[in-house]
């Protein structure tokens, strides 16, 4: 078997399992919503089928047993309970484990432990379904005893109307709609009308595209789910409307079955007036068949109704139809980004050379190329952007499991799932978020009785929110738990020698102390609500993404962790400035304005300047970095926005905007905090990229040091 097929199978099955988990959790909340159980069943069914096709017997068998129980839920024989959801989640996890044990050469390496887990899950599942069944059997026996002279009830016949419009590219998936219609014949009596309205003439047709649609009436004593199962594999590629008809819908007053056209008009799908105008406009098609003497007029009418109905439902469906997608491995995307990065760098060189040469034609080509590369860059970057929703939904399961383990009632709310972030950033924030959410659930949210005593709802809430903030994304993890008492942290910090007992710092800064390495260890758990365990690791991870994390808390009312992250890590817009003979890049997203300044306007002692009628601190970059500055009384002040407010950066000259391809600095420079990376300039020289948060933190420490010394 081709390795690639197996890889695709594993990848797709993983996705199915992810969606299965989501749907299971949704099912628990909305047990009456049929869509959820259908989706869970479909996932199990698909995995079963594909696993069997690739010869993964063990996966297929487990999925089959799992699917059987799900089918009982689907048909209403089995009630949805917490136990059932728990077991189903375990079943889903087991399928994932089996997939993980699957090797690309097609063999599954299962050990006894894995096999035992599978068996015990199946056993438990069948026990649940078994008990339910027995109870039901008892009821049946009981009712049979009461009315023992009655015959067992005959399966009642029902009629369904099925509108089936496969997507036009369905042939590419190998599907043949005729086979599905044939399957319907196994269920009962079928009347099929093909909708030919969209089929073009021969010279215009793409013969490998499907234009046909169908309107089908099916009568028989089958289960609704059996009908759904016929379409199970084309559901996502088709518009399918299944409608159960009442007997009055299809039997007229004389007890004769109605024509399809009448049914459609009667059930309000078509307006009689519309029908008339339609008959006029589409006379040609009808006439042709009628001329051939093949169908009587009413039958043509019926067919025309069907066509109109299809048109209508298609308009409705257009909004829901997803655009077609293409699966590309992230490696190839990374390669693309790398290439674009190289292109940007080369363009910078070309720009430099053409401006040096000063030849007009060369300049205009270089500028045009720059515009194109700008667009290319934006396009390529957008390919890597993914909505954060998929990361959020992974936490639903975690919070659910935590609340079971901890005996708490916790609800997870998510806001802003559509917010997009670079894939690399998304991958890297998963662990820090796990840490923070775990903390919130474990130590933030109180036990139900404690909450009730405090006058809160018994169910605690953890809210995950994502939103854009300039060129950054803010992710907020908020809980409505007990909050953190700043006084307790202060005390602890003084004990640890992190803070002078006399020192007055704001509550916000106090919370920031929680991120100090080893600040809060196990013994601090009780009096500090346990916060801070390993938070230094969280901060480190976030900072490695050039992001920052802050804490806000209100004792008694809850705590928020606020993560600020850059949208992307590969290419950013930067502002190139010169300091002495060096060029430094300031991320443009943080820059608020630039202003020219004369040396004598600066308050060099207190290092403050006035900006928009207030005094803000500034940093003399040349002095700070110990670089000899240019001899000129005119300087430039770049005003940036930081998490601590405005800050001025005094530089020699502002060179202009620069598309900055971020290159990492390597391990040798990992101890320095002021620069997040480097970029290659047009002339081949290197410019360091200023890390705003790092700079602010370093300045704080140095200022403290200076103050202490002075």
């Amino acid at each position: 078997m081709d390795k690639r097929f197996i890889e695709t199978f594993i990848e797709e099955s993983r996705e199915l399992l992810d969606s299965m988990e989501k749907e299971l959790l949704a099912l628990e909340e909305e047990p009456e919503d049929e869509g959820h159980i259908q989706a869970v069943f479909r996932a199990a069914h698909t995995i079963k089928g594909s696993a069997a096709m690739f010869g993964f017997q063990e996966i297929s068998e487990f999925a089959h047993a799992f699917e059987t129980v799900l089918d009982e839920v689907r048909s209403g024989d089995l009630e949805i309970s917490r136990d059932l959801i728990n077991l189903s989640l375990q079943g889903k996890d087991h399928l994932r484990d089996l997939l993980d044990a699957t090797r690309s050469d097609g063999s599954v390496e299962t050990d006894t432990a894995l096999r035992n887990t599978g068996n015990s899950i199946i056993e438990s599942l069948s026990r649940i379904s078994g008990t339910e069944k027995k109870r039901e059997e008892k009821q049946i026996v009981a009712s049979a005893a009461e009315t023992s002279d009655e015959k067992p009830p005959q399966k009642e016949e029902s009629t369904y109307r099925i509108s089936f419009k496969p997507r036009s590219d369905i042939f590419a998936t190998g599907a043949n709609p005729l086979l599905l219609i044939r399957e319907l014949h196994d269920l009962g009596r079928v009347t099929v009308f093909a909708n030919l309205a969209d089929v073009p003439c021969l010279s215009e047709i793409d013969p490998e595209t499907l234009y046909l649609g169908w309107e089908i009436l099916l009568t028989g004593g089958f289960e609704y789910n059996e009908l759904r199962d016929v379409f199970i594999f084309v559901e996502s590629e088709s518009d399918i409307v299944i409608q159960k008809l009442k007997s009055s819908d299809y039997i007229d007053s004389r007890g004769e079955p109605k024509r399809l056209g009448e049914i459609l008009v009667d059930s309000g799908i078509l307006d009689p007036k519309e029908l008339k105008s339609l008959l006029e406009s589409q006379k040609l098609i009808g006439q042709r068949i009628e001329d051939a003497g093949l169908a009587d007029k009413s039958e043509i009418e019926s067919a025309l109704h069907v066509q109109e109905h299809f048109k209508k439902s298609r308009i409705q469906a257009q909004g829901q139809q997803g655009s077609s997608t293409l699966r590309v491995s992230s490696q190839r995307l990374d390669q693309l980004i790398d290439l674009v990065g190289e292109l940007v760098t080369v363009q910078a060189r070309l720009g430099q050379i053409s401006s040096d040469v000063g030849e007009e034609n060369l300049l205009s080509i270089s500028e045009e190329l720059e515009r194109l590369i700008d667009d290319l860059r934006d396009n390529a970057m957008s390919l890597r952007m993914l909505p954060i929703g998929s990361t959020f939904s992974q936490f639903r399961r975690m919070v659910r499991d935590l609340s079971v383990d901890l005996g708490k009632e916790i609800e997870l709310k998510t806001i802003g799932e559509e917010t997009e972030l670079d894939k690399t950033v998304l991958d890297k924030i998963h662990d820090p978020l796990v840490h923070i959410i775990r903390n919130s659930a474990d130590h933030g949210i109180e036990l139900p009785e404690v909450r009730k005593k405090a006058g809160k709802e018994a169910t605690g809430t953890i809210t995950l929110e994502a939103k854009y903030s300039g060129a950054a994304v803010m992710i907020i993890v908020r809980d409505d738990g007990r909050g953190i008492d700043p006084a307790a942290i202060r005390k602890k910090a003084v004990q640890r020698g992190l803070l002078d007992s006399e020192e007055q710092i704001s509550d916000e800064d106090v919370y920031q102390l929680l991120f100090a390495p080893g600040f809060s260890t196990a013994e601090a758990v009780t009096n500090l609500s346990g916060r801070g365990v390993g938070l230094d690791v969280v901060e480190k991870n976030i900072q490695s993404l050039s992001g920052s994390v802050t804490i806000q808390s209100e004792p008694g009312n809850g705590t928020s962790f606020i993560l600020t992250l850059p949208l992307t890590l590969a290419i950013i817009d930067g502002l190139a400035v010169s300091v002495g003979s060096d060029t430094i890049i300031i991320p443009l997203a943080s820059v608020e304005s630039c202003m020219e300044i004369q040396s004598h306007e600066l308050d060099q002692r207190r290092r403050l300047i006035s900006y928009r009628e207030s005094l803000i601190p500034y940093v003399h970059l040349a002095g700070f970095l110990d670089i000899p500055e240019q001899q000129s009384s005119r300087k430039q002040m770049v005003i940036i926005e930081t998490s601590h407010g405005h800050l001025g950066i005094l530089v020699d000259e502002v060179l202009g905007d620069h598309q900055t391809v971020i290159k990492s600095l390597g391990n040798m420079f990992k101890e320095q905090k002021c620069f997040s990376g480097a970029s290659i300039l047009g002339d081949g020289s290197i410019a360091l990229i200023l890390d705003i948060n790092g700079l602010v933190n370093t300045m704080d420490t140095e200022a403290l040091g200076q103050d202490a010394a002075g």
């Binding site: 005729l178 219609i181 044939r182 099929v192 093909a194 089929v199 013969p207 234009y211 068949i289």
Partner: protein, 92 residues
Amino acid sequence: MLTVPIGSKCVIDTVKGLKSSLLEALDNSSEGVLLDVSHIEEIDTAGIQLFVALFNEVEKRKIPLKFKGPMKEKVLEQFQLSGVRYGEQING
């Protein structure tokens, strides 16, 4: 009248080729085309759809279209299954 034979397979794999040969035949014969459908062994949704498109084309160009049959029973059955009521017409 030009006779155009349709091979044994009128399915997704062959519809592209069939389309070109049918169009060519229509272009070269204004007095009409005789389609030999007696050899079709296999037809699927794409094949049936091609027939519908052919009907639309001759309708537009006003070219007489006749069939040489009969079509095999299993092919006719596919037409019936599809709900496209041309099978009977083709079979005369």
